[in-house]
């Protein structure tokens, strides 16, 4: 790979897109059914082109923005912001001349530090050309000066192979991502690409205003990019043909169960996905199994569990959104996996992570292990996080271990409130959200621990 900036500029200003316009995507019918991202039976370019047709010439920034906005695509990296907003921020800045002559940087983010999520790795392994299509589309639309794909080292060979299959992707610079929980946080990604430690930065200026090399920087999760690759082919209405009004389209979900306290940091693992349903069983050291599914937006969580081979009746709660997420009790599993339905639980679909906690296992023991793991994943930059997360995890561990001091739950809640909002990234907020959700949803278990009557399995 040559230096990123020069190669990227060359590739993007080259007429690669328009040259291929004669073979427009209209020749390939829009995919029907739930298998969109998981449609191609293999990762190679030939099968990609057979399934999806060639990438249409990139729309100009404003057109892409309007199309993505009409599609209602939410980012799939975790925060769930509308994907068009970042495009708008970059476009507005350019139009205002606010950035002077600085052309933007576009980053495809495949850093997936969350141990419970393997959907991005699965997507990159099975449909790398959709990701690359989306990345090139966005890069061309905003006239990017540099284009990066930031991905786990283990996936770089498959990415390099896919890039080499194409003639339009010389400008994409591939970089191995850091492997920590917070490695995918946007400012940590920018720091890593700038050669600094992959840690979050204080954010008083948005990355879309000034990011990598002080250029306006547009960072999208790779699943978001893959959806964009299909939206520019088949349109916003096609995208909305599945899903709900507020959560249109499909989304990738990593579903797991059997995660025991000892396996928290190892998380889950999954192999490659195949056709629909894209099922990827795997085994972590602790025996947790993960399944990656492409599902319709707003699907009921209990139906997703059944679809993934998990009996909802054997589940006491589901953790939605991963280690920064919140629990849904068994009584709420009919809730849809969309932002509006999940709002009362203080969580959103995020990166599509579902962890089923089987009946009979102590939730406090598992939660204490997760809190302890998260405390250890602090970037150790911000005082309230460095000090508060271990303190909070320690008190939760005392409660989980059976200490019967009635003040313990209140102290956990106090520390959770104390760290919330007081960091340069959302790691303390997410950790506090998870811990508070544990106290709320498992109030009966907390009570049982305080009375020494918890009969569940502690491991």
């Amino acid at each position: 790979m040559t230096t990123a900036s020069s190669a990227a500029a060359q590739a993007i200003s080259a007429p690669a897109f328009s040259a291929r316009r004669s073979r427009a995507a209209e020749h390939v019918p829009a995919p029907l059914g739930t298998a969109r991202l998981t449609r191609a039976p293999g990762p190679d370019l030939a099968r990609h082109l057979t399934e999806f047709g060639v990438l249409p010439s990139a729309p100009v920034s404003g057109t892409l923005l309007e199309t993505v906005r009409a599609a209602g695509l939410e980012g799939r990296g975790g925060a769930g912001f509308p994907a068009w907003r970042k495009l708008a921020a970059v476009s507005t800045g350019s139009a205002n001349g606010r950035f002077g002559s600085r052309r933007p940087v576009v980053i495809g983010n495949a850093a997936e530090g969350e141990p419970l999520s393997v959907k991005d790795a699965t997507l990159l392994g099975t449909a790398p050309h959709l990701v690359i299509d989306g990345l090139l589309t966005v890069a061309a639309a905003v006239n990017a000066a540099e284009v990066y794909l930031y991905a786990p080292a283990a996936l770089l060979p498959i990415v390099a192979y896919a890039l080499a299959e194409r003639t339009d992707a010389d400008g994409v610079a591939v970089r191995a991502c850091a492997e920590s929980f917070i490695s995918g946080e946007a400012s940590a990604v920018v720091n890593a690409l700038a050669g600094r430690p992959a840690l979050p930065a204080d954010r008083s200026i948005r990355l879309t205003t000034s990011g990598l090399g002080r250029r306006p920087t547009l960072l999208h999760n790779i699943e978001t990019l893959a959806h964009i690759a299909l939206i520019v082919r088949f349109g916003a209405d096609w995208f909305r043909a599945l899903g709900t009004e507020t959560d249109p389209g499909t989304r990738l979900v990593t579903m797991s169960r059997g995660l025991w306290a000892g396996g928290v940091s190892a998380g889950v693992s999954a192999g490659a996905t195949g056709s629909m349903p894209a099922v990827a069983p795997g085994a972590a050291p602790a025996g947790a199994t993960a399944t990656v599914l492409e599902v319709i937006g707003g699907s009921r969580i209990d139906e997703l569990l059944r679809f993934g081979g998990i009996d909802p009746a054997a589940v006491q709660a589901v953790l939605v959104g991963g280690y920064h997420g919140a629990w849904l009790p068994a009584s709420a599993l009919h809730t849809g996996l969309d932002r509006v339905s999940l709002a009362p639980f203080g969580v959103g679909p995020g990166a599509g992570i579902l962890l089923a906690l089987e009946t009979g296992r102590c939730p406090l023991t598992l939660a204490a292990s997760i809190a302890d793991y998260l405390a250890g994943q602090s970037a150790r930059q911000c005082g309230p996080c460095v000090n508060g997360l271990p303190a909070m995890a320690a008190v939760l561990s005392r409660l989980a271990a059976g200490e019967r001091h009635p003040g313990l739950p209140g102290e956990v809640a106090r520390l959770a409130a104390l760290v919330t909002g007081r960091g340069s990234c959302h790691h303390p907020d997410g950790t506090a959200r998870f811990v508070l959700s544990t106290l709320t949803v498992f109030a009966a278990d907390v009570d049982a621990h305080l009375h020494g009557t918890c009969a569940k399995v502690h491991a």
Binding site: P200, A201, D202, R203, S204, I205, R206, T208, T209, Q381, C382, G383, P384, C385, N387, G388, A391, L418, T420, G421, R422, G423, S424
Partner: protein
């Protein structure tokens, strides 16, 4: 003005905005720089307490703390005098 004025994003760039024109002054804490020396909590006791470990704590707020007009001078001093340069003052409409 000796305070570091940041054109923060998401909020209207503020450097030139005059105080008292409806703009709201906000004190931003850069937690990656702050190491809890506590000077700001001494200069702004009405606004900032110290948490369990000595870091500034504004009840109900996280990294961006609204500053009432009567505390603007003290907040400006806190920004200037912070030994870690962890504070910034800006205004939002």
């Amino acid at each position: 003005m000796s305070a570091r004025m940041l054109a923060s994003t998401g909020r209207r760039a503020a450097g030139a905005a005059a105080a008292g024109s409806g703009a709201r002054a906000v004190l931003h804490i850069d937690w990656t720089s702050c190491d809890g020396r506590g000077l700001c909590t001494e200069l702004l006791p009405e606004l900032l307490q110290r948490d369990d470990w000595g870091y500034p704590l504004a009840l109900g707020y996280g990294s961006d703390v609204p500053v009432p007009a009567q505390l603007l001078t003290a907040a400006t001093d806190a920004v200037s005098l912070c030994p870690r340069q962890a504070l910034a003052l800006f205004r939002e409409p």
